[in-house]
Amino acid sequence: MTYAVKFTDVWKRYPRGWSEGEQPRYASLRYDLARLWRRQGGTRQPQGTEALKGLSFEVEEGASLALIGPNGAGKSTALKLVSRISFPTKGEVRVRGRVAALIEVGSGVHPELTGRENIWLYGQILGLTKSEIRERFDQIVAFAGLEPAIDAPVKFFSSGMQLRLGFSIASHLSPDVFVVDEALAVGDAAFQARCVDRMRSLVNDGHTLIFVSHSLSAVRDLCREAILLDRGRLVSSGNAEQVLETYTDMLHEGSISGSNRPEPIQVKRLQVRGAVDGAPLSTGSPVTLLLEIDSAIDAPGVMIDVGLADRYHTFLATLSTQSSGRRTDLLAGRSSLSCHIPALPFLPGEYEVFFEVQNPRTGAYVAKQSYVGTIVVSDGPSWRRSELAYGSVSGRGPIDVPFEMTLHRADGRDH
C-alpha cells in the first residue's frame, strides 16, 4: 500500500499570538519596524506558539484516520497542513492527490447571492468543475434540504440553512483525501446523520479520510485508525478502539493537558449500592451512588452534577442538585452526596461516573469535571440475556426503554 499523507518530523510555529513571556501581539507596521530596529546587533529569538513539535505519521490510501486529543493538541493545525492552507515551519508534509477540506465552510457562502449562485460560484472556488456542478447540482440542493429556497438570497436563510448549504457544497467534492474538522456540529440531528452517512460512503468508495472530532462516538463510528496527540506530539497511534481507550484512560488519570493544581473540591470515594448489598447491579433495579466530597472552600449556592457516560466518554445522563429547585450550599470539610436512582435505565455494560460543581448562574466551574469511578451493570432484562444481546450492547444502544412492539399486516388480517 502507498501512503496518501505522510508527515515527517513536522514542526509548526505560529508567528504571532501569545508566546511565553510576551504580550499578545497584534500586527502593526509600527510594532514590527520598532522590533526590527531593536533587533540590530541582537540575536533573533524565535517567536510565537508551537502547535506541532516533530510530528510524524503516515496515512495509507483509503484509510480512515481520526486525530484525537485535548484542545490545543495540534489536531486542527495538522489538518490545515494536509489541506495546504498552512505551511510547516520545519519538516515535510507529503500529500498524494487532491485534498478537500470539509471544514466548517458556511462562512464562505456569500449572503447577497442566491443559493443557486452560491452553489455555482462557491463550488468552483472549492474546486469543482462546471460540469461536475451541473451534474451534482440537484444532489447538493437536496442534501442541504433547500429546494424551496434555492433562488432566494442567502442572507434570508437561517444560520442553520447557510451552514448546511456550505457543508453540502463541500461534501460533494470528490477528492482523493478528505479532511473533516468538527463539521458534525453543523445543523440539526437529521442533517448530522446525513453528514455521517456521506462521510461513510466516501470512505467506502476508497477516499482517504482524516477526521478531527471531540465526539468520540463519531470517531469510533467512522474511523478504523486513530492518532492521539497532546501538545503537538504524538502520544499513541494504531487501531481506533485502542487509541480511544488510551485517550479515555488518560482523561481519567488527568495526565493530559490539565493543570496539576489540586482542585479545591475533590471526590474521595464513590460507593455504589444496589438493591441488595454486594449483589451485582441489574437493569431496572434501584441504585444509590454515594459520593464522599472533600472541600477546601465554602461554595454557597452551587449546582452539583453527577454525570453518567458510556465507556467512550459520551454522556448519557446528568443528575443535578439543580432539579430539586432548592439552594445547595457546599461547605468546607467533608460532605456526602447521595444520589438515588429508583430504576437503573442502563443495559448491561460499564458506565462512568463524572462529578462537577458549577455556579448555576454563570456556568463557571467551581470544580472541573472529573472522573470518579465506574459502575458495572452485569444483569439485564430477560429478553436481552441471550449471548447475542450481551455481545453487542454498544451496537444496540445502552438505554433500557420500556416499550411494547407489535406487528400488523397492512390488510388488517392479523395472525
Binding site: 507596521l29 509600527r30 492552507i85 498552512s86 508534509v93 498524494r96 492527490g97 485534498v99
Partner: protein
Amino acid sequence: MDSQRRKSELVLAGTPSRKLWRSLRELWDYRDTIAAFAERDIRVKYKQAVLGIAWAVIQPMAFMAIFTLTLGHLANVPTGEVPYAAFSLSALVVWTFVSNSVSFGANALLADAAMIRRVYFPREVPVLGSVGSALVDLAIGLTPFFLLAPFLGAHVTAWWLLAPFLIPFLVLVALSVAIPLAGLNVYYRDFRFALPFGVQLWLFASPVAYPLASVPEKWKTLYLVVNPAAGIIDSYTRVLAYGVAPNPAYLAFSLLGSLVIGALGYLLFKRLEPTFADVI
C-alpha cells in the same frame, strides 16, 4: 470524476518554492477559479444597487464634469487641439479601471479571509478576480465613451481600434501594484488606511487631469519611470481623444516599469503567502 487521473504528489517542506515560472503555471491551472471570483464580485457589486451597472459609467462621468469645470475652465489646463472634456473623459475611463483594480484588489484577501483560512488556492486568485471584475466595469464604461466622445470633440480615427489591444498593458500596471499591496495588507492593516489616500495621490501623479505634454521636458523621463501608469494612460488619451498613435517609448516605459515592479511585487507576495492563513 476522473479517477484515472494520475495523482500528483505535493510536498510541503522547508521554504516554499518561489520560482516565478512555477507560480504562474499554477495560476493558469486556477483560471476557472479566478473567473468564479470575478463573476462573484460583479454579481455582488451590482446586486443591491438600484442603478446597477450604470455606476461603472457614472463614476468617470462625474469626475469628468468636475475636472472640466475646475481644471478645464477655471485653471485653463491646456489640452491642445481637443477640448478638455474629451481629453479628461478618455483618461478617466482608463484611470477608473486602475483605481478600482488597486482598491478592490488590495483588499481582496481581507474580504475573503474566511475562505483563506479554510480553502486552498493560490492566494493571488481573489486579487486577480477583483481586477477581472474591474475589467468588466471598464468594458461597460468604454461603451458610452465611444458614443459620447465625438460630441465632446474627440478625434475619431482608425486608432480607436487599437484601444482593446492596449488593455493587457493596463492590466499589468494594475496587477503589479494590487498584488504586493494585497499581501502587505494581510500583515499590516496600516495599508488599508493608506490606500485611499495613496490612490488619490497617484491620480494626480498621472496624466489624467492634465496631459503628459504639459509636464516639463526635463522631468518627463523621471515622471514616466516613477509612475508606470503614466505611459499607458497617455497612450489611451492619444488614441481615444487625439486619434493619433501612442508614443512607443512611453508605452515601453510603462511596460518595463510595471514588469519590474510586478515581478518584485509578486515575489514578495509569494514570500508572504505561506503564512497568510496563520495571520489573517
